[in-house]
């Protein structure tokens, strides 16, 4: 199989969109937090917790969407903790984020061992199935890529559109963007900076958890310890790459996922035999760093990102 053949195959683009889906959820979650001025490094752990919570809920008998809701609630719980420490108490967002990641990951692994003490391989669930959209899914190449996916993928795209609309077209979106740029002027309007930031962190963390749940409930049908494997950190890079805009971040996630899908296929070609597989696996991380470097020159960082706001302080 040669390179052009890979790029023109429908299955390649379908895989790219599938790989992009969890990244889209988590990237949008991180984007909301950062737009409100809070860097959420809890993302990696929250995705682990979401992946586990959704899966175990379905395994325990809940319907699939119930599992998604449980994942979201778990993520919002960790988001609330992050918010209390980083927004209300204004503690270092770096330290709080790393702490949340450590806490969420270890709590998840602990709960897994307590809930399933005797299993060597984790049980499987009946995951989300592909839902083909009639007519549209028959379009060559992009039809299979965009319209033959699981419902969660459609939700990811819908969410991005809704988020872009809310951020730029509604008073709520204006308030979120404003607390990330100039919290003092929001406070001068009589709005609560703390409440808006808390809301953004809690909702954003919920989305990160749904991103994690995509892995156990749609991409795969089971939970493994190293499942998330740095995807959270990659999403932080994607937010920067997308210049803190939902549309651009979505394109970034798809581009990134296409590259990931490409390297998986490249491993099976003639080139793959001569290059160690670790080089291919490194690519996503190297690409993320390159994206950060490329975007650094024209960064449009929210002005109050990582700046705690203490009322009455100049």
């Amino acid at each position: 199989m040669d390179i052009l053949e890979i790029l023109l195959s429908a299955s390649f683009w379908a895989a790219a969109i599938r790989i992009a889906s969890p990244l889209i959820f988590a990237t949008m979650g991180e984007l909301i937090c950062e737009r409100a001025g809070v860097l959420n490094l809890g993302i990696e752990g929250i995705m682990v917790a979401g992946a586990f919570a959704g899966w175990i809920a379905v395994w325990a008998g809940l319907p699939l969407w119930g599992g998604v809701a449980i994942a979201m609630i778990a993520g919002m719980g960790f988001g609330a903790l992050h918010g209390v420490l980083s927004v209300l108490f204004g503690l270092s967002q770096h330290v709080v984020g790393v702490g949340i990641t450590l806490l969420a990951t270890s709590l998840t692994f602990y709960t897994y061992r307590v809930a399933l003490p005797e299993v060597s391989t984790p049980p499987k669930i009946e995951a989300f199935k592909v839902l083909e959209i009639p007519l549209l899914s028959d379009i060559p190449i992009i039809g299979q890529a965009l319209f033959a996916q699981t419902p969660l993928t459609y939700l990811a795209f819908g969410l991005t559109a809704a988020l872009a609309w809310i951020l730029y077209r509604t008073p709520l979106g204006l308030a979120v963007r404003a607390v990330g740029e100039s919290p003092a002027s929001v406070a001068a309007q009589g709005l609560s900076v703390a409440a808006i930031r808390m809301g953004a962190v809690i909702f954003g963390s919920g989305l990160m958890a749904v991103g994690g749940a995509f892995l156990t409930m749609s991409a795969f049908d089971s939970f493994f310890f190293d499942m998330v494997n740095g995807r959270g950190w990659i999403c932080i890079a994607l937010v920067v790459f997308g210049a803190w805009r939902p549309g651009k971040a979505l394109l970034g996630a798809i581009l990134f996922a296409a590259f990931d899908a490409f390297q998986i296929r490249l491993q099976q070609t003639g080139i793959g035999v001569h290059v160690p597989y670790q080089i291919f696996l490194m690519m996503p991380y190297i690409l993320s760093i390159l994206a950060l470097v490329l975007m650094s020159r024209r960064a449009e960082v929210p002005a109050a990102l990582m700046v705690p706001f203490n009322k009455g302080e100049r």
Partner: protein
């Protein structure tokens, strides 16, 4: 709510909140142990006896503390200057790789020359590994948290490649594992017959060394000044970017010593499971130590005791060993909160 600085905190104000933070994380762990069907008193008893209950246990705790002192120092040096190095895991493996590349027969030197040379080269290599994200930060403004985190994944894959390729032990029965170090490259034991190597001694020396740098040298002053207020430091004529780069070299070098000491002192060869996350746990150690170099030693001993104790508790009581990780993560979050409360009053309005 609003935070109001306290001019002269009382002794109670300074001591009580951190003590409560540690107590609360123990309470959280006790509660979780009960959920898992354990008796909390028995669980804590087993953790303590597993950590310090016998000569073997104490030595095991000291051995486990050794890499944590190095990574804890690496993190505290970096965090003091507000250089957010989350990549100590990669730097640790860099130190281990250098040790294995040169210590398995490539260099034919006597032990008194070989061991220090390997340590110095490991430090340099680890420092250079952190220099890359630090340069990206000072030159291009790329956030070092994400780059150092991503470096961990890249470097671990690189180590995996080395262990399946160039560094693979031909006598290793196919396992991804390096050849063993020559005996001249091994760190000797402190006392014959006791399973404790000179890596621990080196860690203590490093802690005192960093304390001296911190307290008595210009660099130490400059690093703190940059961390407290980079703008003011620049205004005062401190070359901020060079100080950040020096901090990176120092921090990366310290983390690399953890890898050097684990290979040369404890394991004798390199495998992919050399570190169960010492680079990340170093963050907890550094925060519990309030970023103080001598405090790092105490915090590393505490953290190591909990890990070693939890391992043996898990075998005896059947409560998952991840209880230790939960305890430390909650201790980390609660401690940073407690320290804030020692300095600020929370006002409702």
């Amino acid at each position: 709510m609003r935070l109001e600085p306290i001019a002269n905190p009382t002794l109670t104000r300074r001591v009580l909140p951190p003590a409560l933070a540690i107590a609360t994380s123990f309470a959280v762990a006790a509660f979780l142990a009960m959920i898992a069907g354990g008796n909390p008193f028995q669980v804590f008893g087993l953790i303590i006896s597993g950590a310090v209950g016998s000569k073997f246990a104490v030595l095991e705790t000291l051995n486990r503390a050794t890499p944590l002192i190095f990574t804890g120092l690496a993190i505290s040096v970096a965090f003091r200057a507000k250089l957010w190095n989350i990549g100590a895991e990669a730097q640790l493996y860099m130190g281990a790789v250098v040790t294995v590349v040169l210590g398995t027969g490539a260099l034919g030197l006597p032990g008194w020359a070989m061991v220090p040379l390997l340590a110095v080269l490991a430090v340099i290599a680890g420092g250079i590994l952190l220099l890359i994200p630090a340069l990206l930060k000072t030159r291009l403004g790329v956030d070092e948290v994400v780059t150092t985190l991503l470096f961990n994944f890249i470097f671990l894959l690189f180590v995996s490649y080395l262990l399946e390729g160039p560094l693979k032990d031909p006598m290793g029965m196919g396992w991804p594992k390096s050849a063993r170090l020559v005996s001249e490259a091994r760190l000797p034991r402190i006392v014959d017959g006791l399973r404790l190597h000179w890596g621990f001694g080196l860690a203590l020396i490093a802690a005192v060394g960093i304390w001296v740098v911190d307290k008595f040298t210009t660099l130490g002053f400059e690093m703190r000044a940059v961390g407290q207020n980079a703008h003011a430091a620049r205004f005062a004529g401190i070359p901020v970017n060079p100080v950040i780069l020096k901090t990176a070299l120092l921090s990366g070098g310290l983390a690399a010593l953890a890898g050097f000491s684990e290979v040369a002192g404890l394991k004798g060869s390199l495998t992919l499971d050399l570190s169960p996350g010492y680079g990340y746990t170093g963050i907890v150690v550094a925060m519990l130590a309030l970023l103080h170099p001598l405090g790092v030693v105490a915090a590393a001993l505490f953290v190591a005791a909990i890990f070693v104790g939890a391992d043996s508790m898990s075998r005896a009581a059947g409560v998952p060993t991840y209880l230790a990780d939960i305890m430390l993560a909650s201790a980390l979050l609660l401690t940073v909160l407690a320290i804030l409360i020692t300095k600020f009053r929370v006002r409702r309005d």
